[in-house]
C-alpha cells in the first residue's frame, strides 16, 4: 500500500463485549471478541472494502472506527488525530469529517422528520451555514448531488422507494461535507437494479468530491466492484488484504479462496467450469474462538503443525497481506486440500439459558 497520504490508520483495534450472567450481581463470564486486533490503513480518496460473513465483526469495526462503539483497546488515527482518547466535545467536531451510511434506510431515518429536517439537523449541530437560506442552499446542492428532486424536501421517508431512501441516507452523510464515509451494507437491502444505481452514485460522488470510503458488505462482488483495496475478515480479524484485482486473480488465504468460489456468478459457463471449495460447518462462536489460526477448524488445507496452536500474523506476500502460515505452499500447489468434517456450532452456549450480551452504552445518535 502506498504510504503517501493516509487518512485513517487503525492500529491493533479490539472491541470486546462482556457476556453477563446473574440477576443481582452482574458477573462477567466471558467476552465476545467481536474485533480482535485489526490493523488497517486507508489512503485519502481511496475505497477500502471490508468483507466477511455475518458475525465476523465487520460492522463493529466500522462503528468502532467512528467511535460509535467505544473500542476496548487500540488506536484509530484520523488525519493525524488519535480518536480513542479525544474528549467528547472535540470528537463531536471531528464527526463532521467522518460520516456513516447505514444498511436499512427505513430504520435509520426518523419516520416523523421530513427530509429537510433530517438534513438540517446535522448542519445545525455543527453550525454550518449562516442562516436558513444558506442552509437551504447547501441542502439543495446535496439533493442534486445524490439525484433527488427538490420537492423531496417536504416529504417524509415513507413516501419514497427503497433506493430513494438510501439516497436520503447518503445525502444526510454528505451534507456536512465529510472526508471519510463509512458505508455499512449500503446496498444489501435494495433490489438488483436499484443496487446498481446506488453503487454508481457512490462511485460518482467519490470522483467529484474526492471522498474516502470504508465500504462494509457481505457481498464480495459489490465490494470488489467498488473498492481499491479489500480486506477479508474472519472471526474478528483480517485474514487477507489485497488490491481488489489481485484478490480475485490470486487469493492467498484459504478462507478467501472458499469465499470466492462460493459467490455465484451470473454466467452459466463460468458456473459450470469453476471449482467449488465447500466449507464444512458454520462460523465458530466469537465468544470462544478456536485456538491458533481461527480458520483451522474449517480449513481444507489445515496442517497438523502450527495451524492449531500458533496464531498467524498478517505478513506481506507480493502486494497482499495474508494471515496464513502456509500461504506460499498453498499457492504453489504443494499442499493439497483435504476433506473436513463439520463441527457442531451453537448459536449460543450449548442451549442453556442464553447469556445476555450487553453492548456498551451507545453514544447516542448524533450523526
Amino acid at each position: 500500500m502506498s504510504d503517501d497520504d493516509i487518512l485513517v490508520e487503525v492500529r491493533d483495534l479490539k472491541v470486546h463485549f462482556p457476556i453477563k450472567r446473574g440477576v443481582i450481581f452482574d458477573r462477567t463470564v466471558g467476552h465476545v471478541k467481536a474485533v480482535d486486533g485489526v490493523d488497517l490503513r486507508i489512503p485519502r480518496g481511496k475505497t477500502y472494502g471490508l468483507v466477511g460473513e455475518s458475525g465476523c465483526g465487520k460492522s463493529t469495526l466500522g462503528r468502532a472506527l467512528l467511535q460509535l462503539t467505544p473500542p476496548t483497546d487500540g488506536q484509530v488515527v484520523f488525519d493525524g488525530v488519535e480518536l480513542t482518547t479525544l474528549p467528547a466535545g472535540k470528537l463531536r467536531t471531528m464527526r463532521r469529517r467522518m460520516q456513516m451510511i447505514f444498511q436499512d434506510p427505513m430504520s435509520s431515518l426518523d419516520p416523523r422528520q421530513n427530509v429537510e429536517s433530517i438534513l438540517t439537523e446535522g448542519l445545525q449541530t455543527h453550525g454550518i451555514g449562516k442562516d436558513r437560506d444558506d442552509r437551504r442552499r447547501i441542502i439543495g446542492e446535496t439533493l442534486d448531488a445524490v439525484g433527488l428532486p427538490r420537492w423531496a424536501l417536504s416529504r417524509y421517508p415513507h413516501e419514497f422507494s427503497g433506493g430513494q431512501r438510501q439516497r436520503i441516507g447518503i445525502a444526510r452523510a454528505l451534507v456536512l461535507g465529510p472526508e471519510l464515509i463509512v458505508a455499512d451494507e449500503p446496498v444489501s437491502a435494495l433490489d438488483v437494479s436499484i443496487q446498481a444505481q446506488v453503487v454508481n452514485l457512490l462511485d460518482e460522488l467519490q470522483d467529484s468530491l474526492g471522498l474516502t470510503y470504508l465500504v462494509i458488505a457481505h457481498d464480495l462482488a459489490v465490494v470488489r466492484h467498488i473498492s481499491d483495496m479489500v480486506g477479508v475478515m474472519y472471526l474478528g480479524a483480517l485474514v487477507e488484504e489485497a488490491p481488489s484485482d489481485r484478490l480475485y486473480t490470486e487469493p492467498l488465504h484459504p478462507y478467501t479462496r472458499a469465499l470466492m468460489s462460493a459467490v455465484p456468478v451470473p454466467d452459466p459457463d463460468v458456473e459450470d467450469r469453476r471449482e467449488r471449495i465447500l466449507l464444512a460447518g458454520d462460523l465458530p462462536s466469537p465468544a470462544n474462538p478456536p485456538s491458533g489460526c481461527r480458520f483451522h477448524t474449517r480449513c481444507p488445507w489445515a496442517q497438523p503443525t502450527r495451524c492449531a496452536d500458533e496464531r498467524p500474523v498478517l505478513r506481506e506476500i507480493g502486494a497482499s497481506r495474508v494471515a496464513c502460515h502456509w500461504a506460499e505452499q498453498i499457492a504453489s500447489g504443494e499442499l493439497r486440500p483435504h476433506k473436513v468434517s463439520a463441527e457442531v456450532v451453537r448459536p449460543e452456549g450449548e442451549g442453556e439459558t442464553p447469556g445476555v450480551v450487553s453492548a456498551p452504552s451507545e453514544p447516542g445518535s448524533y450523526v
Partner: protein, 371 residues
C-alpha cells in the same frame, strides 16, 4: 405432458375503496420431472405469490381471486378441496421457505416437526419414524442427527435450520419441490452448501425443482429453464445459456447489466435500470416496463405486448427486443420454423409468428447488446 403445467395463472387482491392489485397476471410455465426451473425477478414481481398460489397457501380472505390452472400430474391443484390438497401437499409437492426461523415452530423440537410429515403421509410411528427422521437429517448433512432431533430451532444455526427445513420437504420423496428464496437469508459459504445439497437431491431422486430467487448468479448455476418476471408477468423465458448469452428482453438485459460481477475489473461502471419498480404501467395499457425501458418505441404503449416465440424454445414479451449479436433484428424469427419450439413450453396466449420488431424501424441502437 409435463409434471407441472401452470397455465395463465393470475392472482388478484381487491379491497373495497382501493385499487385492485394484480399480483400475478397470466403466468404460464411448465416443469418436467428432474428439471430445474427458475423464476427470477425483483421484489414485487409476483414470484412468491405464484408459488403460494400453486401450493394453495394464500390466506383465504375476501377479495382474493386465483384464476387459471396449475395442473400437477393430471390434477388441477387450484380446483382441489382442502382435504385432498393436504394429501398432495408434503407428499407429492413440497415447499422450502426463505426464512427457516419463522417457518419452523419455535416451541416444538426439530424431531417432532420432521416426524409429523412422516406420520401424516407415510403412516410411520414411534421408533421407526424417529429412525427415518434421523436418516433424513443425516442425508441433508446435519452432524450428529440423533441429538439434533431433540433440539429446538433456536439451538441450530441458520444453515442447519435451512437443512432441517429441506429434510422435512424431502421426507416423502416429493416429485416437485418449490424453493422460495431458499438461500437469501444465508451467508455465501452456507449458500454454496445449500445449493450443492439441492443440486444433489435433484440429481439423485429426479425431483423437479422450481427455484424462486432474485439472484441471477444462483439461477446461472442451477436452472435448466429460466422465467424472468416483471410486474406479475413472464417477460422472458429461455434455457439458461441463451438467456445469459443473448438476453432479448430489455429488462433481462438491464438486470444482467446491474449485477456487479466478481470476475469484472474495478472501475467498470454498472448499467443500472433507471427508475424503480414503482414506475410501472398497468399491463392493459401497454408494456409495464416501458417507463423504465431504454428501447421504448411508440408501439410499447397502447396494448400489452404479446409473447414472441423463437426457434430455440425461448420467448419474450417485447415489441422491440435487444438484437442478437451478429444478426439483423427480427431475422432469426422469420427464417426459422416456429414449430421447433419445445412442446409444453408454448403458453396459451403466445402468437408464434409475431415479428419482434416493428417493420421500417431500422436497426435498433446497439449500446446494450452486451451486458
Amino acid at each position: 405432458m409435463a409434471l407441472l403445467e401452470v397455465d395463465d395463472l393470475s392472482v388478484t387482491f381487491s379491497r373495497r375503496g382501493q385499487r385492485t392489485v394484480r399480483a400475478v397476471d397470466g403466468v404460464s410455465f411448465s416443469v418436467d420431472a428432474g428439471e430445474v426451473v427458475g423464476l427470477v425477478g425483483e421484489s414485487g414481481c409476483g414470484k412468491s405469490v405464484t408459488s403460494l398460489a400453486i401450493m394453495g397457501l394464500l390466506p383465504k380472505q375476501p377479495g382474493l381471486a386465483v384464476g387459471g390452472k396449475a395442473v400437477f400430474d393430471g390434477t388441477d391443484l387450484l380446483q382441489l378441496d382442502d382435504r385432498s390438497r393436504r394429501d398432495i401437499r408434503g407428499r407429492d409437492v413440497a415447499m422450502i421457505f426463505q426464512d427457516p426461523l419463522s417457518s419452523l415452530n419455535p416451541v416444538i423440537p426439530i424431531g417432532l416437526q420432521v416426524t409429523e410429515v412422516l406420520a401424516r403421509h407415510r403412516g410411520m410411528k414411534g421408533a421407526a419414524a424417529e429412525k427415518e427422521a434421523a436418516a433424513l437429517l443425516d442425508r441433508v448433512g446435519i452432524p450428529d442427527p440423533k441429538r439434533r432431533l431433540k433440539e429446538y430451532p433456536h439451538q441450530l444455526s441458520g444453515g442447519m435450520r435451512q437443512r432441517a427445513l429441506i429434510a422435512m420437504a424431502v421426507a416423502c420423496k416429493p416429485r416437485l419441490l418449490i424453493a422460495d428464496e431458499p438461500t437469501t437469508a444465508l451467508d455465501v459459504t452456507i449458500q454454496a452448501q445449500i445449493l450443492e445439497l439441492l443440486k444433489e437431491l435433484v440429481r439423485d431422486s429426479g425431483t423437479a425443482l422450481v427455484m424462486i430467487t432474485h439472484d441471477l448468479g444462483v439461477v446461472a448455476g442451477m436452472c435448466d429453464t429460466i422465467n424472468v418476471l416483471y410486474a406479475g408477468r413472464v417477460v422472458e423465458t429461455a434455457r439458461r445459456r441463451p438467456l445469459f448469452r443473448e438476453p432479448r428482453h430489455p429488462y433481462t438485459v438491464g438486470l444482467l447489466g446491474s449485477v456487479p460481477r466478481l470476475d469484472a475489473g474495478r472501475g467498470e461502471r454498472l448499467n443500472p435500470i433507471p427508475g424503480s419498480v414503482r414506475d410501472v404501467l398497468p399491463w392493459p395499457d401497454g408494456c409495464a416496463f416501458a417507463p423504465r425501458c431504454s428501447r421504448r418505441v411508440d408501439e410499447c404503449v397502447g396494448e400489452p405486448p404479446q409473447l414472441v416465440l423463437t426457434y430455440d424454445g425461448r420467448g419474450y414479451r417485447c415489441v422491440n427486443p435487444a438484437p442478437v449479436p451478429g444478426t439483423e433484428p427480427g431475422q432469426e424469427v422469420r427464417d426459422t420454423v416456429p414449430t421447433q419450439a419445445a412442446p409444453g413450453s408454448v403458453p396459451a396466449q403466445a402468437e408464434p409468428n409475431d415479428p419482434p420488431t416493428v417493420p421500417g424501424l431500422g436497426p435498433a441502437p446497439s449500446e446494450e447488446e452486451t451486458a
